[in-house]
């Protein structure tokens, strides 16, 4: 081994050991737990081999939660990309109050989740919520509606709330990408008669590929793992319509008291996320010549 390699390994070894401890050890413990039938944390259980895995794939709850997680990722990706680009492109232009706006929008990301939840629950309340009042006043609704009363409405409402919370953060990342694009390219395109849409499609978007790649990967993983907003607002309801895989894992462990089944779910979920990450990196990573 070359000297440089040894030095390199020495430099990264603390991090490698640390990551091994905080990731691989819990995964190993979870895997071991998934081979038993432990119910309550701290108690012992019988060895059942891969029974938990076999049962898991036959359960409609797992399928339902997997589908919900899939729709959740897609819904959030669409909404957050749209909102984030809108915000970033708006702030990228010079206008009075731009700095105030840039600081103001980030508030939704800074305030604690529990506050976000309280605010939105109050605003969306059917008996005293401002949003119902406004929608009735402008004639879009005849009477107050329950935003969390039916499966579809609850799911869409949650996606919008979560997008509201995270889009400004994504917008700032996109904005940093926008700022790194050479302004001369826009000036030259204007001389050539390019309009806003053409500028976006042929200059902005291609130059943001690296940023979008990172956002696509990290954003998907972050969205997938969102637990707090869903749990605090709907607890996975109504009728399990908003139960995603992280919620199902929590419910299985701490309300059903089936720790081994929850561990099985965690292992399967981790595997799915790992698979997604590998496929995403292989297929979407920007090439050197891009």
């Amino acid at each position: 081994m070359k000297k440089n390699n040894i030095e390199g390994w020495l430099f990264v070894s603390p991090l490698v050991i640390w990551i091994s401890l905080i990731i691989l050890v819990p995964i190993y413990i979870a895997f071991e737990l998934s081979l038993f039938n432990v119910k309550i944390i701290g108690t012992s259980g019988k060895f059942v081999g891969i029974d938990n895995y076999i049962k898991l794939f036959g359960k409609s709850k797992f399928l339902n939660a997997s589908l919900n997680s899939f729709y959740w990722i897609i819904g959030n990706a669409i909404c957050q990309t749209f909102f984030a680009f809108t915000i970033a492109l708006t702030i990228n232009y010079k206008f009075p109050g731009k700095k105030i706006m840039a600081n103001w929008i980030i508030l939704s990301f800074i305030i604690p989740t529990v506050v976000v939840v309280v605010i939105w629950k109050l605003m969306l309340s059917s008996s005293s919520g401002v949003i119902n009042s406004v929608l009735i006043d402008i004639g879009l609704l005849d009477e107050a509606t329950g935003f969390f009363s039916s499966p579809n409405k609850a799911f869409i409402s949650l996606v919008l709330i979560n997008s509201w919370r995270w889009s400004p953060f994504l917008a700032l990342i996109i904005l940093s990408g926008l700022n790194s694009i050479n302004r001369e390219m826009y000036d030259a395109s204007k001389v050539d008669g390019a309009n806003f849409v053409q500028q976006f499609l042929f200059i902005t978007f291609p130059n943001l590929k690296s940023v979008l790649f990172v956002l696509g990967l990290v954003g998907t993983l972050l969205s997938f793992n969102i637990f707090d907003i869903i749990w605090l607002i709907t607890k996975g309801g109504p009728s399990s319509a908003t139960t995603t895989l992280p919620l199902l894992i929590y419910e299985t462990a701490f309300t059903k008291f089936r720790i081994s089944q929850a561990a099985t779910l965690s292992i399967v979920t981790s595997f799915l996320l790992l698979l997604f990450s590998i496929i995403f990196i292989k297929s979407m990573a920007p090439k050197e010549d891009d």
């Binding site: 309550i40 944390i41 309340s125 609850a154 309801g237 009728s239 309300t255 059903k256």
Partner: protein, 423 residues
């Protein structure tokens, strides 16, 4: 040499005499004025018992089901844990909650527990916790609303349906009923089940008897009434229902109490606040009852000294003069569970209780006819924790309210879900 030895022995005894037994008290009453009241009582106890040091640690209901078993596994469980009946079997099963029948018998002889309070904690040959206070669901309304509508407060389900329909107008919902998969919904639907004669979840052999005509009737009437509730009731917990009543958005709600919010946010006209027994199924007046939760204290230590210290502290709380102040940490919500406590002047002298005396008396009366699913007539099995922790009564209700199934089909499917849950 003898003098030196004597000196060390004296020092040793002195140290022993000043050894302090630490008792950690976990509870979920995190509202600041409740924490303050508990701290006041702890300070009084600690000052008169220098050999014991009680400290309180506030937890919350959302986490305690996960946190308490984890703390037992990690060896960091508190000495005393406040809980509700469906939580106790899990900790008893783990060997964490200690049997306290002798201690409870001692308190019973002094203060006289209501039998219903003891029922919820007595099974498998032991009493698993010391009852502290009771909470029973009642029907709350404004008397003026009924006078304006020209109707009488409901006694039967038919009356209730008529009242809910009549009071639904001008943006007001006739009745606020939750449809969330949450404990509040478990409580409201069970209070209907009690009033139709379906309070038993289990047969005496531990099999379920949830799927029966009485349960179906309760789910059916709930579904009918739900159309008069707020559209977002599918996401309600206690707070939203109380807010709806306080803001006059809901004409009636089922709640343990509304006194605090009514007094602070809705004008506080005590003479207009009505509270009655939850209506019963037609022809089933003899079944009239409600859901009640007896909150209790589990002793979680087998250490002799800590156990004695914990009992001493709990005895202190149950003593008349302290007890009234203890449960009045939230006046008009927590109800006495002992004969002596019901007569404790420190309970009845609280200004809020004085102002709403007739309502509190009705609540107290209702609560004495309270029962809790899975803890009735000695048919208690530890698997009830799986049913209650997963809110399966509420989940069954969502099958009919949200998914649109008939009450009969929903109850039948609910029975299957419960059977799977307790396997």
């Amino acid at each position: 040499m003898k003098k030196i030895l004597l000196f060390f022995i004296t020092i040793l005894f002195s140290l022993n005499a000043y050894a302090v037994t630490n008792v950690t008290f976990w509870h979920m009453e995190g509202v600041p004025h409740r924490v303050d009241r508990i701290q006041t009582l702890i300070d009084e106890f600690n000052s008169t018992n220098p050999d014991i040091n009680v400290t309180q640690e506030v937890q919350n209901w959302g986490e305690i089901y996960a946190k308490a078993p984890a703390s037992v596994a990690a060896g960091t469980a508190p000495e005393i844990l406040v809980g509700i009946p469906d939580f106790t079997p899990i900790l008893a099963d783990m060997g964490a909650a200690q049997p306290v029948e002798d201690f409870v018998a001692e308190l019973d002889s002094k203060y006289g527990f209501y039998q219903k309070a003891l029922d919820q904690y007595t099974y498998n040959g032991h009493t698993w916790a010391v009852p502290l206070w009771n909470m029973g669901l009642s029907l709350w309304y404004r008397k003026s609303d009924f006078e304006t509508a020209g109707i009488e407060p409901p006694k039967t389900w038919s009356d209730l349906k008529k009242a809910a329909k009549a009071l639904t107008k001008d943006g007001v919902y006739g009745i606020g009923l939750p449809g969330n998969k949450q404990l509040y919904t478990d409580q409201t639907i069970y209070s209907f089940m009690v009033n139709s004669g379906a309070e038993e979840i289990y047969n005496s052999d531990g099999t379920l008897r949830f799927d029966n005509p009485q349960t179906v009737a309760a789910y059916d009437v709930y579904k009918e009434l739900y159309q008069y509730s707020a559209p977002d009731a599918a996401n309600w917990t206690w707070g939203e229902a109380e807010a709806c009543f306080a803001s006059k958005g809901c004409a009636m709600i089922l709640q343990f109490t509304v006194i605090s919010t009514y007094d602070s946010q809705a004008g506080g006209d005590a003479s207009d606040l009505g509270v009655i027994q939850i209506p019963y199924a037609n022809g089933k007046a003899h079944r009239a009852g409600t859901v009640s939760y007896v909150n209790s204290a589990m002793i979680m230590t087998a250490d002799e000294a800590k156990m004695e210290a914990s009992k001493k502290f709990l005895s202190f709380l149950m003593e008349p003069g302290n007890y009234g102040r203890f449960i009045n940490m939230e006046p008009g919500l927590f109800l006495p569970i002992t004969e002596a406590g019901s007569k404790d002047s420190t309970y009845w002298d609280d200004p809020v209780v004085v102002k709403y005396k007739s309502q509190v008396e009705t609540m107290l009366d209702n609560s004495t006819r309270g029962s809790l699913f899975g803890f009735t007539n000695g048919n208690t099995f530890t698997s009830i924790s799986s049913i209650s922790a997963q809110n399966l009564l509420a989940q069954t209700l969502q099958l009919t309210l949200i998914d649109g199934k008939s009450a009969k089909d929903a109850v039948s499917e609910g029975m299957e879900i419960m059977t799977e849950a307790i396997e």
